[in-house]
Symmetry: C2
Subunit: 426 residues, 2 copies
């Protein structure tokens, strides 16, 4: 029986036309991250399973990891996210590294989910993390960096919106104001995190089971508030609420005004400790999260070293590509080949040096030395998307000239061997 | 208990200083592959297990794959090599694609081996494949492409040697000349493939068990021959031997003279059908394979489509880095940060626009807005490897000037806000 040609379910094959788009997205991510002083790192996709047991979200660890035993009996996991890995790496060199420490990476990550639009089992993700800064400047930098990426992609600020919230504020409300214990508070946070995936009734039922009836009305009001001014006065006065307000003002200073204070924004991961943020596509047909992140001051400390204040975010290739396509922001990319050399007759040996010279001039040259007829070769070159071909047969070799044919216009020009590079770039 | 900070055994963490080297190697690979008209593709690291059962080497499949069942009961494998994947992708679009088809990729691949110098469980590998060309020009192009990579890295041709052989020739000897059946012939090929990993006695014993005593002497002589002229006359006259000879001549035409005809070169994979080649480091302390490849005309056809003549090779990051280090060819790479802005006092908000302007000019700016003392900030910047810092405090902000300090010379210059970019690039 013949082998199947399908890729693994929920993963993608990147043929050149897809890979060009992928490389463009990575190029923009890299360019902006470098401008903000971040340096690139990388790590292995296999990590020990224990790395995810303590702080990644329950749902991911129990239902979505790719975990298995290696041939030596080690329990390992294909990373479902990069944050535990970068925290591990920073912890390993906690003393030697200098702070503020800025790191970025573009890893692939794996989750066993039902594949659907915008969600695949494998995706690549820009990860940006800033270590060693407890000041609000760090949270601010993260969001302007993400915004700069969107600007660099050519997006208008009305095509995406940024939501910010404070885990600290929600924690304060639940634990101090409503006197809930740790476990119940976490259950409420997880419920709020899933709010948009359930009906209003199911959500309210869930809330009723976890929160004392005295507080339900106020909490529901706070969760429905979508700006600072609609919060109760004494909540607005809390330092964590003030901080969110300051962040919003500071973002306005650099023109980032598409920011909403959304008290229902939780972000799935258990490790967030303070400000969290998320960016959404505003197009009705693609109204999904484009990136998200926040402050996770406790993670590096889990490795037995002194804790480090940290802010980070991740942005996925699948959702960004959907965004760029939805808003018609994806440039058209053609082949990377400059010219194809079509050899007519058995002359490869005689042309080896000429071809080598063209490459020395920086030209991307694809050679066709098959024994097919010229019209077949031209058809193939055209199908490959090549714009120009050089045709060389007996006669051309004798007079040391080639025929340069433009496959778009059909125009043919005779060019001497010595002038090919000039002619191609003219 | 604290979590371990170690990476998975046999895998690497790439901190920025390692990632820069990795990016340099990838950059050179990409540049040369593009010059030869190859276009980049990529695929998922997870493949179905069956993809490797038929043609990858026995040893790899039985002892070295990372295989497991996913949560849906599918048997999957982390790719141990890229060739089956690219063959699958080409087979999936056998009719739509145009030929000659040139593809390259830089995937990571996994093998469960005992980690040692030059061999890790995970490595990245340049894969270059040319589909649709049965002519010797394809084999020739592969080797000059690999040689061009070595030249681009700055290597002299006496620091590496290229060995070539013909599987077709060996097949002809074993099956036709010595009348061996398929199974025995394959056993001999696998024995020869392991020749350098065993003593002469063990090898000879193995040969004696598989080959008729009449042929042992001749076969041993042929395997020990290291050039065309020392082969028996009637072996030299075989078309497969002639082809190897032509390839060697053709490589000489473009200055590639470090080529040996090595009849004992087999390459591990079962899918090779004709010419195979391998490049070795000639340094005694690092005498290992740098890349290898060959012709595998039968692989695409395994997917139930019309077969395609194919030549390809792979080159790994670990062995290339070892080579570059051994021969002192690795450039020194510094930080990608152009300048650090050290803010003294609570002035982040006032400087947000200035910093944003610097980035707009293409400058890679790392900001230090922590509340530490200036000397601490300078020390950190120095430890980070930054060469220049801009110092801004109360006074600088008032007169709209910064202090530009060169951390290598200690020199300080006062620069107006408007002239920072010019001054940095002067």
């Amino acid at each position: 029986m013949a082998l199947s040609t399908a890729p693994y379910k929920g993963a993608r094959d990147f043929y050149p036309e897809d890979q060009r788009i992928e490389m463009y997205i990575f190029f923009v991510w890299r360019e902006v991250a470098l401008k903000f002083g971040y340096e690139e790192y990388n790590a292995s996709i296999i990590e020990s399973e224990e790395l995810y047991l303590s702080k990644t979200s329950q749902e991911i660890v129990n239902e979505q990891t790719y975990s298995f035993e290696d041939r030596g009996g080690r329990k390992v996991t294909l990373r479902p996210e990069m944050t535990p890995t970068v925290s591990r790496m920073v912890a390993a060199r906690r003393q030697e590294l200098a702070y503020p420490l800025r790191l970025f990476s573009i890893p692939n990550v794996w989750r066993y989910e039902r594949p659907q639009r915008g969600r695949l089992r494998e995706h690549w993700q820009l990860n940006v993390d800033l270590f060693g800064v407890s000041e609000l400047a760090a949270d601010h930098e993260m969001i302007i960096l993400a915004d700069s990426i969107m600007q660099r992609f050519g997006a208008n600020r009305d095509s995406y919106s940024i939501r910010i919230n404070s885990r600290k504020l929600i924690d304060h409300l639940l634990k101090t104001r409503y006197s809930m214990d740790e476990e119940n508070a976490l259950a409420v946070i997880r419920l709020i995190d899933k709010k948009n995936k359930m009906t209003k009734e199911v959500f309210n039922d869930g809330l009723q089971k976890l929160v004392h009836s005295d507080h339900i009305e106020e909490l529901t009001g706070i969760l429905d508030a979508n700006d600072f001014s609609s919060l109760p006065d004494d909540v607005r006065a809390l330092p964590s609420a003030q901080q969110i307000h300051n962040l919003q003002m500071l973002l306005g200073r650099v023109g980032i005004t598409n920011v909403t204070f959304d008290t229902s924004l939780m972000r799935g991961f258990d490790y967030y400790t303070d400000i969290v943020f998320e960016m959404f596509d505003t197009a009705p047909e693609n109204n999904r999260s484009l990136f998200g992140g926040g402050r996770y001051d406790g993670l590096v400390g889990l490795f037995g070293v002194e804790p480090l204040p940290t802010v980070g975010f991740g942005m996925g290739d699948v959702s960004i590509r959907d965004f760029l396509e939805t808003h018609k922001l994806l440039p058209e990319f053609g082949t990377t080949v400059d010219v194809a050399v079509l050899i007519v007759g058995n002359h490869y040996e005689a042309l080896v040096e000429l071809i080598s010279d063209l490459r020395s001039e920086g030209i991307h040259v694809a050679v066709d030395a098959t024994d097919r007829k010229l019209d077949k070769k031209i058809k193939s070159a055209d199908k490959s998307g090549y714009k120009k071909v050089l045709i060389i047969g007996d006669n051309e070799l004798k007079i040391k000239r080639v025929v340069l044919k433009d496959l778009e216009t059909g125009q043919e020009t005779s060019v001497s061997f010595a002038n090919i590079a000039d002619k191609l770039f003219s």
